[in-house]
């Protein structure tokens, strides 16, 4: 057995400006943790032959995309996979520059952790502020500020602390950031990447990989309020099998909290009440299930439930409404225009929506809102108000990434044009005392 212990999965993305050493860093992580694939090794050999002397350039490992850049092809998100005996890793590699915001939002949306690279010689530049802002906007639970190229500043602790201070001046304004770690390193030489550096005796923390292997991610999912967007109604429709004849399961992925057999629940938006009769995973009923498991629930009463409904517990009720405020990242060449209709996909439901107003565009270098811009263009972040044809059952994005997020889809072309993060509801949904299960 290669893996005696359960192995967790950590998803991270890397952000940095051109030449901060992002490709070198990913190459170094893959190389030093012995995760090279054949084709990557071949690519390295080839480039080593070209540059002569067999000197290997680690940046080439991840630079399938650099070639694309040279050919003028749109830069996109690529995913890479590696493993250590303790964890598996999925890296979202977003080398875009022009389209950086859009790609970073895509790559970071599923990340537990973001690595923000800084060139130690340059310190905090505008890009560093942007990347950190975006990581905070997306609610990424863990951030690593990788102060790279420490070899070029003589491994100076003073320089490292200076950069940390610069960050700490603006970090308090990004109040969603909970866990920020600073690591001095040299991606080129491998210092503090996989192996601790001999050059930084003044640094007591872990090397990057050690941190990635141990950072506590068990509570990255919202475990405090049960949310179950109904995804698919499971009706076997089998007239001959007595057990299956009446089976009516509600399948979906738990988007928050836990659910137990016997627990009272409410179906929203209808407000119908019932309780959990059975929780099915594959071929077996279980006593409880938790986020983000995919399960099938059976309710005690035969209430009307369909895809797009949300089943919730009685504690920590969500918001419900059709007039919503959200921050959006605009992702399409055609700009956002107030008054235009889109499809909005939120959890498992798609509804028509109209943007009623564009309240502000956020300057992501100063973090300041600029009120009432005429439009949002690609890579802009803005605050909008939106009206949906049917009420959404939702949480604020900062409370729950799964029930607080949506995408906008352009009608006709079906292009995905925006990623949206909902503002927390003003009040939780009011339950009417008359809402009982039939």
């Amino acid at each position: 057995m290669p893996h005696p212990h359960p192995i967790e999965l950590l998803r991270f993305n890397t952000c940095g400006s051109v030449d901060d050493g992002k490709s070198t860093l990913i190459g170094r992580l893959l190389y030093d943790s012995k995760n090279l694939m054949e084709d990557q090794i071949e690519a390295l050999e080839r480039s080593a032959d070209i540059t002569g002397g067999g000197q290997i350039n680690l940046a080439n490992l991840t630079d399938g995309l650099r070639a694309e850049r040279e050919q003028g092809i749109t830069i996109d998100v690529a995913y890479r996979y590696f493993a250590t005996p303790r964890r598996k890793f999925i890296v979202a590699d977003t080398p875009g520059h022009v389209q950086y915001t859009r790609n970073m939002v895509t790559g970071a949306s599923t990340a537990n952790l973001s690595i923000v690279l800084v060139d130690a010689r340059q310190g905090v530049i505008e890009q560093s502020r942007r990347h950190t802002y975006l990581a905070a906007l997306l609610g990424i639970p863990h951030i690593v500020i990788a102060v790279n190229k420490m070899d070029l500043v003589g491994w100076s602790e003073e320089r490292f602390l200076e950069i940390r201070d610069e960050f700490e001046k603006f970090l308090p304004r990004l109040d969603t950031l909970r866990d920020v770690k600073f690591i001095p390193m040299s991606a080129l030489n491998g210092d503090n990447v996989v192996d601790p550096s001999k050059h930084t005796p003044w640094y007591q923390g872990p090397a990057l990989l050690g941190h990635l292997e141990t950072v506590h991610i068990a509570s990255d999912w919202n475990m405090s309020a049960f949310r179950f967007p109904v995804q698919w109604v499971n009706r076997p429709n089998n007239p001959t099998d007595q057990n299956l004849h009446d089976f009516r399961g509600l399948s979906g992925q738990i988007a928050g909290g836990l659910v137990r057999k016997g627990q009272p629940v409410i179906v929203l938006p209808s407000g119908l009440r019932s309780s959990i009769k059975e929780i099915w995973t594959h071929q077996s009923a279980v006593e409880e299930a938790f986020c983000p498991q995919s399960v099938t629930l059976c309710l005690e009463h035969d209430v009307d439930v369909s895809r797009g409904d949300m089943i919730v517990g009685f504690e920590n009720l969500p918001g419900m409404g059709s007039d919503l405020q959200a921050r959006v990242c605009w992702m399409h060449q055609r700009p956002l225009q107030p008054g235009k209709k889109y499809f909005l996909k939120h959890s498992t439901q798609t509804v028509q929506a109209v943007i009623t107003s564009l309240e502000s565009r956020i300057n992501i270098s100063t973090f300041e809102p600029e009120p009432h811009p005429p439009e949002l263009t690609i890579n802009d972040i803005g605050v909008i108000r939106i009206k949906t044809a049917k009420p959404l059952v939702f949480d604020g994005y900062n409370t729950n990434r799964l029930t607080g997020s949506f995408i906008l889809i352009e009608q006709g072309t079906n292009a995905t044009v925006a990623a949206g993060m909902l503002t927390a509801p003003g009040a939780a949904v009011k339950l009417d005392d008359n809402d009982f299960a039939i």
Partner: protein, 312 residues
């Protein structure tokens, strides 16, 4: 608190099941591409988990090149029958007969011809979504592939203009004539696939395990000897793919690592007899200590990787 936590396979599983159910909910006529290979075997288990006790809400489709390993076809048919699924088979021969596919003169392999055959089947059955078992770790181009990969009216993928995929919110909308390829195993690695096969105790075709087979060397790999040409009323389907006099046949202990058809699959020399052996073999192939460890159970695949790693 810690017990409310998924390990990596459980996470990949819940993600894939979510994707499968989105397909069932969002598309009218989905189909699952089932070849009998290891990736699609995982897909089938995920489909069972996503939809049981209901019947699977989609048929299976396989495009045959006509050069299949008989073991694979037998396995494919048996698994589909066990699940009570409807298995549709379309062949490259049909596609050629209908003028959908044009063989290139002198090219024996029919890999390329599978694409027009697939597009023909999509049109014939009006499928709006095909679930496939591709993984992003397979090759560079795949690393950028989406879970929901949009194809235009000509079945084309436009990598420059993909829909961004954010959170777990998949945009499944297609217009008439367009369709979607969906890859629930996008985030799985080869190792994950085998670990899942082990955990779920899934049966795989026996050609994945080491066996003795007649092979000959061509194109830098061990090619399996095709079956004899018995029905002489028809032309030999393996004409051009049989060993030439200067390609001696050798009896080897081999297995397949990935399966295409008998013409395109390279057999690797390997003693791996069980799923555990295969997992150990992959582990060795990937994380070998720069060729310093002489592992006498090493397979050819491990050796190759190791040789390359030896450069460092």
């Amino acid at each position: 608190m810690n017990s409310y936590h998924l390990d990596h396979l459980q996470y990949l599983e819940t993600e894939a099941i979510h994707v499968m159910r989105e397909v069932a909910a969002e598309f009218e006529r989905p189909v699952l591409l089932f070849s009998g290979g290891k990736d699609s075997i995982c897909l089938l288990r995920l489909a069972e988990k996503a939809f049981l006790p209901s019947d699977l809400p989609m048929p299976f489709l396989n495009i045959e090149t006509g050069h299949e390993f008989p073991e694979l076809l037998e396995f494919r048919d048996r698994r589909a029958a066990q699940l009570g699924a409807k298995l549709l088979v379309r062949t490259v021969d049909d596609a050629i007969a209908k003028g959908l596919a044009m063989p290139k003169p002198g090219v024996v392999s029919r890999n390329q011809l599978q694409t027009p055959a697939l597009l023909g089947a999509i049109e014939e059955f009006h499928f709006d979504c095909c679930i496939g078992g591709a993984r992003r770790d397979e090759e560079k181009a795949r690393a950028k592939e989406r879970f929901f990969s949009f194809r235009d009216g000509f079945g084309q993928w436009d990598p420059k203009n993909q829909r961004p995929e954010i959170w777990n919110l998949y945009n499944a909308r297609v217009n008439q004539g367009e369709n979607m390829r969906v890859f629930p195993l996008s985030n799985w690695t080869e190792m994950d696939v085998w670990e899942y096969i082990k955990r779920e105790q899934l049966e795989v075709p026996n050609i994945y395990f080491s066996h003795t087979r007649d092979c000959f060397r061509r194109g830098g790999q061990w090619t399996p000897l095709p079956p004899d040409h018995t029905d002489t009323t028809k032309p030999d389907p393996y004409a051009g793919a049989r060993p030439k006099p200067n390609e001696p046949i050798k009896k080897l202990v081999v297995r397949v690592r990935t399966i295409a058809d008998m013409i395109s699959t390279g057999m690797i020399e390997s003693p791996a007899e069980s799923v555990d052996d295969i997992i150990a073999e992959i582990a060795a192939a990937r994380v070998t200590e720069r060729g310093t460890r002489a592992d006498d159970r090493a397979s050819e695949a491990a050796m190759e990787d190791r040789k390359k790693a030896g450069y460092f």
